[in-house]
């Protein structure tokens, strides 16, 4: 497991496991951070030529429509770069709110936990 050097411009840490990037999101996402996150992710995908990105949102308590839209958008961009995006660890309350808002996150693969995410990432 390699860790990318810490950098003040980075919003979240990005860890590399084999061909996958693991991104634990442990900050509150707002409109500004989420677009910086998108930029950082795309750069990192280009640099590491990763096969899949796993976004872990276990500690994120609020995912609004803009954030979910930006995440889907990021996934679509990553797909164009040959990289799958997997989202894991959505809280039950967040899931219910997203479903009630009619958001289904088409572009993203959804996993239960990290293990399931790795299984999804490796099976293409």
């Amino acid at each position: 497991m390699k860790e990318t050097p810490s950098n003040p411009e980075q919003v979240v840490p990005i860890l590399q496991i084999a061909d996958f990037l693991l991104v634990p999101i442990q900050i509150d996402l707002d409109d500004k951070t989420v677009s910086r996150l998108q930029e950082q992710l795309l750069k990192e995908i280009e640099r590491t030529r990763a096969k899949a990105v796993i976004l872990d949102v276990r500690t994120v308590e609020i995912i609004d429509s803009y954030i979910s839209y930006t995440l889907s958008e990021t996934a679509a961009m990553a797909r164009l770069m040959g990289c799958r995006t997997i989202l894991c660890g959505i809280r039950p309350a967040v899931a219910l709110t997203l479903a009630q808002m009619g958001i289904v996150l088409e572009e993203l693969n959804i996993a239960r936990d990290l293990e399931h995410a790795l299984v999804l990432a490796s099976s293409s």
């Binding site: 959505i90 219910l96 289904v104 959804i110």
Partner: protein, 205 residues
Amino acid sequence: MRSLLEEVGEERVAEEIVSIASEVPDFPVVKVLQQALRISAKMRQEQEEALSQLRQTLSELATPIIRIWTDMLLVAMTGNIDSQRAQDIAERLLNRVSSTRAKVVIVDVTGVPMIDTMVGGFLIEMFNATRLLGAKVILTGIRPEVASTLVKLGVDFQMVSIARDLEDALRQGIAITMEEAQKRRQLALNLAKGGVGEGNEGNAF
């Protein structure tokens, strides 16, 4: 005295009491009324508590969530579903799915007499939310009249698999869990060998 009577809010009772008070001057109207008000308020509170507890128990009884196989939950829905019950079922199911990390959720609607647009919309919301937790949903027990209503209303359950009966649902669910266990073993082997998914590099680079 006046304010107390206004609190009671019953004009006829108030008139009666005023007449009693004028006929029997030393009757302790204020004290008796205060006491009566206090007692009735307490009784009402107790009743409301009992009622809300009953309602909670009823909704839990009406929709049991049962673990029927490894990583598999069964939601047996019965009776009419209103928005309050729908919200309650969705919350309980999602918490359960999240805490048990269930792979498959089987939803049996045999006991639901009518599925209208409201219930259909609620089911779609619940299925999408369950999907966001990474579990697969298998729907079963749709009776002919329900199927006909759903199609006429334009509700299509494209995001879930449908099973003929509970047996079929169980079989599908076991197939899903087995397939995933297989993939997991493969991943572990590949990681142990030092490379992941070496056979399918081509699509990524």
